[in-house]
Amino acid sequence: MSADPTAVSPAGIDSVPPLRPVPGPSPTAGGSRRFFTLLWVMAVTEFKLTFHGTTLGYAWSLVRPLLMFGVLLAVFTQVFRFGDSVKDYPALLLLNVMLFTLFAEATQRSVTSVVVREQVVRKAQFPRLVIPLSIVLTELLDLALNLVAVFIFIVAYGVDPRWTWLLVPVVVLALLLVTTAVSMIVSALYPRFRDVLLIWTVLSTVLFYGTPVLYPIGVAPERFRHIVQLNPLTPIFEQAQKWVIDPNAPGALGATKGSEWLLAVSFLIFACICAAAWWIFKREAPKIAEEL
């Protein structure tokens, strides 16, 4: 490692650290312990910061999706009377809204995440991947708190607890993977292409309607259904319905109604997004400080 062995004491008497190449501004450099410590500290800080200075404090993380749930519930049970045809529609809607909130909030906040941390990015060396990951982790903390409220509501509404509720972490994990991948992409691209913020705002809305959040996939007309089923988020929400709300719901596989290839393509798209996320982030991370 050292340039000249005579300069460094061979027996290590002097505790001179050896010369090592500097890591450079990479997504992950610096050791895993430091990575996860930093990730945790940043996520907790972020969690504190989000609601700091607001009157309701942490309650906002619950109140916001609840308000949205209330509005959607009113529209789809009172105005359109669509909810009547779905079993335990209010319980399903609440669960879906909470799950989608994780995806929407984390990705939206990730877009500008690198730029708002400009001070840190331009002055300190740390693994850049921590930035979007800390935001996803913050939203996960939010979701964990919110899910407690969701399950209280579900039970109160009259859905019977089932052992499949224990599989919820699987659903959340899958959702987390998609969210992380998309967050990595938008956070890495935004410093270079400021359009990303506008594009993602629109795309996020499209995805809200293009994912079975407001409706179970079974009620959608067939052509529309095929498009929606290519969405990698769709199987996650379908499976959540089956495991949590209604064991007779079709689930991710059943919802394809025999066209299993739809599910396969959706998984392929999911894999592509993950690969693209890693590729883009790894490519952009070293240059991010220069683009600010």
């Binding site: 650290p17 450079g24 292409f193 400080a289």
Partner: protein
């Protein structure tokens, strides 16, 4: 390999490092702009600025190493490459042990957080564990003398307070290499002295320090060795004095031009020369020197006035001035040029730094400004005879003995 002049092992090894940037003006930032300029999209950026073009040097362990150069010369880029903020385009950088940077007068604090959260976050970034970072909070605040402000968000700190906290943070993370950018340029004098004392103290314990500065005084008074970076290459590296001399002599432009160039006449060049006629910026105390300005005329000018001021540095106080009036200035017809030289017969300036400013005016009573220097010319007077001021008035000392004795 050990660094030249020392027996200590190498702490920083830089080999052939290159770095270039796209010039922001030319950069395409939105997709639409990219789409409208598909060539740039395919070919990459058009204009590139080469900040570093192959820089190599070693810094020994426990060395106080100065990096000096003009703004835009590449020294800050070098620091950011060492700190892993930028990625080099070529070459290699190796560092022994942990490195703590202090860049652009900060270590990367979050303005929305208070001092305690910032110290925790930053400590973890610099490689401490959470408990280590927490336990160092007291030392950081102690050093920064900010006990009364620990609950305040950093955005409510004054700039000086933020600098203090940042510098203190950098000192407390037990790094093997400290990268310090311009800290001695801000803050009150007492804090600057404290910074220097601390840096020298950790240096004596084996910490390596790289100080980036554009003040040669810093290099001369604190550094063990120094390096001059100019236009992206190492111009000279070695003892602080020769590096500082080189900085003055070569890097600072010896010829200045005027800036406005709109009126009927202007200054195309201005310079200081020693009594041998060589352009210089260093004049020994008491030696004659001259100031020259080349004046050109666009249109016929009958009446000009050249105003030359000697300013103290860094205070910028005009300690002396002279006017070359319309009687002495040449009359120029369109396209003509003339050089006006002012000889300072016997310099009465004391040793130190000075600046010469100059203005070309219309010689009419209203004295319209035609041209002036963009930046005052630098003048350094060397010597030992100090009277404690800027100008030593020409004087002689006489002593008369008298019989009367001691007054009562």
């Amino acid at each position: 390999m050990s660094a030249p002049g020392t027996g200590a092992p190498v702490a920083i090894e830089v080999r052939g490092v290159k770095k270039s940037f796209t010039i922001p003006r030319e950069r395409q930032t939105t997709l639409k702009e990219r789409a409208l300029h598909p060539k740039t999209w395919l070919r990459g950026e058009v204009a590139r600025l080469e900040a570093l073009r192959g820089v190599s040097f070693d810094v020994a362990r426990g060395e106080f190493f100065g990096v000096i150069g003009r703004n835009g010369g590449g020294k800050s880029t070098l620091l950011k490459l060492l700190a892993s903020i930028y990625q080099p385009d070529g070459g290699s950088i190796r560092v022994a042990g942990r490195l703590a940077p202090f860049i652009e007068l900060g270590v990367g604090f979050n303005p929305e957080l208070n001092a305690k959260d910032n110290v925790l976050l930053n400590g973890v970034m610099m490689g401490l564990t959470r408990s280590e970072a927490r336990s160092r909070f007291e030392r950081v605040v102690d050093y920064a003398e900010l006990w009364d402000y620990t609950d305040l968000k950093l955005k409510n700190y004054s700039f000086g307070m933020q600098v203090r906290l940042g510098f203190s943070m950098m000192l407390q993370v037990d790094a093997d290499v400290l990268l310090v950018d311009e800290v001695l340029a801000v803050g009150d004098l007492a804090f600057q002295e404290k910074c220097v004392a601390s840096l020298k103290e950790v240096r004596d314990q084996g910490t390596t320090i790289v100080l980036v500065t554009h003040k040669m005084d810093d290099v001369e008074s604190h550094c063990d060795r120094a390096m001059l970076i100019e236009e992206g290459v190492v111009d000279i590296i070695g003892e602080p004095e020769p590096v500082a001399e080189r900085f003055i002599e070569v890097i600072l432009p010896t010829k200045h031009a005027g800036m406005t160039g709109e009126g009927p006449a202007g200054i195309s060049a201005a310079w200081i020369a020693d009594h041998g006629g060589r352009t210089t910026q260093i004049v020994p105390q008491g030696e004659p020197f001259s100031f020259s300005a080349s004046v050109y005329a666009r249109d016929r000018v009958d009446s000009l006035e050249l105003d030359v001021g000697v300013l103290s540095h860094p205070e910028g106080v005009r300690i002396s001035g002279l006017r070359v009036g319309p009687g002495e200035m040449p009359r120029l017809s369109a396209g003509e040029q003339a050089t006006v030289r002012v000889d300072f017969e016997r310099g009465s300036l004391e040793p130190g730094e000075y600046r010469l400013s100059y203005e070309l005016k219309d010689g009419e009573p209203d004295g319209r400004l035609l041209d002036r220097c963009p930046e005052p010319a630098r003048l350094r007077v060397t010597g030992e005879d100090r009277g404690g001021g800027a100008v030593m008035l020409p004087h002689r000392v006489h002593v008369d003995r008298t019989e009367a004795g001691v007054p009562r």
